[in-house]
């Protein structure tokens, strides 16, 4: 399956808010480019989209979920790849979804991809996104004494800025 076909199959089934293929040329011989698919999907259809990916490939490789907050929106990107194991055939796909900051939640995908647990625990503690149905909702990377309701990946008042001490600005008197 080629990247265009993967994108077409998504377009056919879902209403995509954004759909593009970036062709990255990072090979010494410059004979062919590596396709990277980026799609954006509504929160309601997100889990179904991951399910669709599992139909295209029995077990898509889940790399990681990244995320950030811009204004009132939290954007999550789940990075997957298909067709691993085929020489020069792997296709990376980033599935984006936008959530409202005040009430950010996303369904768990651990039922489809069990390896996503670490990432889900991470976005929960780092971005304050509630993962519905997560099998293990404890903190993972943040220490136990880290203040509650501070989310290191955010840039607003709930971000880590208040607790940061800049050592180059001298000692606290």
């Amino acid at each position: 399956m080629k990247a265009e076909q993967v994108l077409a199959s998504f377009k056919k089934r879902f209403k995509l808010k954004e759909a593009r293929i970036d062709n990255v040329m990072h090979r010494a011989n410059r004979k062919s480019a590596v396709p990277r698919i980026w799609i954006e999907i509504g929160r309601e259809e997100f889990k179904e989209a991951v399910g669709h990916l599992c139909e295209l490939h029995p077990m898509p490789h889940f790399a990681v979920a990244s995320g950030y907050q811009i204004g009132e929106i939290i954007e999550l990107i789940y990075h997957f790849s298909l067709n691993y194991g085929k020489p020069q055939g792997e296709i990376c796909i980033g599935i984006k979804t936008k959530l409202e900051k005040g009430n950010a939640s996303i369904p768990t995908i651990t039922g489809l991809v069990p390896g996503a647990l670490i990432s889900e625990r991470e976005i929960q503690e780092m971005l304050g996104v509630k993962v519905e149905g997560i099998p293990d909702s404890r903190r993972l990377f943040l220490p136990k004494n880290f203040p509650k309701k501070v989310y290191p990946w955010r840039r607003d008042e709930t971000g880590p800025n208040k607790i940061v001490r800049n050592m180059h600005k001298g000692e606290k008197k």
Partner: protein, 413 residues
């Protein structure tokens, strides 16, 4: 002891048999591990946060400090992401130099790991032997880059240093050294009855578990999953080199997914890296080593980018993944670093279930964990060394060093 009664023991974060700061809370029945719970958060250093306060050229230096051993991997991924956003064309020669550096790193990492594995098994003479072998690759790295570990050779748009024709001799010499010593290393690790007894059928990761838990690198390949970014995506010089993902089948004829298989895969990969370096030296094209040699020009090209991209690389431990988003500011808006251990941690649970207490260290070590990569905030709520004190201490230390050996060293109390 009565049947069914379990105890909890914690292995780590500081444990003589586990060198990485991670805590494995094991539920034990008799000698057998019933359940494992993993606690990270021991060395979170906020690298990503620091990265979003620096411009891309500065982040290259930061990325190199994420992990000592994987210093090429993270820089390469970050540079790849920046190059994708900016549309920078990396010269072919630079791709070859990057590949050679990455493969030297793999040889170093795998041999270092082999020594650690031998140590975890209580076989310290083998540890010293393998680490003696490792010296050669460190010397070669020092010869090429000036440093034994931190290579500082990858930069945005190419490499900082060239590998010249006259230097090829020493690299070939190192390749020959590893070829000659490979059979001995293989015999020690794969034929020794004690290693066999401690590693065969221990810490099994089944193929379907490796797939569903998204394991990467030698951990996945030892379970028969042919995942290798060098083969699947073939970036840099790899498409010209015909890389094939290595499974234990090639050497042992079968795949069991145990510790022994993981040893075999890493040993084979040392040999594979030697072959790849030799091929690179043979095929290396002429040309520039970077699209732009002036750093100020590079900075002006990359500091107001808009867009997002990912960078991927097959590190010695598996796939490294970086996500970068720039929104027209000097600094990245979002930077996500995902090291291979992050994906391999969950594999510990099926590996350790049913294992003996004595096997915990070698099973834990068998994925070659790297916690500094995986965790990346230090909250110091105790003794803190402030800026002034640190500065004073370093001035004292420098002065005492200048006085020459034997003089009183800086006092850190």
């Amino acid at each position: 002891m009565s049947e069914g009664k379990t105890f909890k023991i914690a292995v780590g974060p500081v444990h003589p048999a586990l060198k990485e700061p991670v805590q494995l809370n094991c539920e034990i029945e008799g000698e057998q591990v019933k359940h494992v719970d993993i606690e990270l958060s021991q060395v979170h250093r906020s690298i990503e946060w620091i990265g979003t306060r620096r411009n891309p050229v500065q982040v290259v230096f930061l990325a190199e400090k994420i992990c000592g051993i994987c210093n090429i991997c993270h820089t390469l991924c970050f540079c790849e992401a920046v190059e994708s956003i900016a549309g920078i064309e990396v010269p072919a020669r630079a791709h070859y130099i990057r590949t050679i550096a990455a493969e030297l790193e793999r040889i170093h990492s795998h041999i270092l790991w082999a020594g650690v594995a031998a140590h975890e098994l209580g076989f310290d003479s083998v540890m010293h032997y393998t680490w003696k072998l490792r010296e050669k690759v460190l010397d070669t790295t020092e010869y090429l880059t000036g440093n034994r570990i931190g290579k500082a050779i990858v930069t945005i748009g190419g490499t900082k240093r060239d590998i010249e024709e006259k230097q090829f001799g020493k690299i070939r010499e190192a390749c020959n050294y590893y070829r000659q010593n490979f059979s001995r290393l293989r015999d020690i690790f794969l034929k020794d009855p004690i290693i066999k007894a401690r590693a065969r059928d221990i810490g099994i990761l089944r193929r379907d578990d490796a797939l569903s838990l998204c394991a990467v690198g030698p951990t996945a390949r030892a379970s028969g999953v042919k995942k290798d970014v060098r083969q699947d995506e073939a970036y840099a010089a790899y498409p010209d080199l015909d890389v094939k993902a290595i499974t234990p089948k090639e050497l042992l004829g079968e795949i069991r997914g145990d510790v022994y298989d993981r040893i075999a895969v890493r040993l084979l990969e040392v040999l594979q890296s030697v072959e790849l370096i030799e091929k690179c030296l043979k095929q290396m094209p002429e040309g520039k080593i970077a699209y732009e040699s002036k750093l100020a020009k590079v900075l002006s090209d990359v500091k107001q980018l808009k867009g997002e991209a990912i960078g991927r690389h097959e590190a010695p431990r598996g796939e490294v993944f970086h996500y970068l988003k720039m929104v027209g500011e000097e600094t990245p808006y979002s930077w996500k670093v995902r090291a291979p251990t992050y994906n391999n941690i969950l594999s510990w649970i099926p590996m350790l279930k049913g294992a003996q207490i004595a096997d915990i260290p070698i099973v834990a070590a068998s994925i070659d964990p790297c916690m500094s990569c995986t965790n990346r905030a230090a909250i110091a709520d105790g003794k803190e060394l402030g800026n002034e004190k640190l500065h004073r201490l370093s001035v004292e230390k420098t002065r005492s060093l200048k006085k020459g050996p034997g003089s009183e060293r800086g006092n850190c109390n």
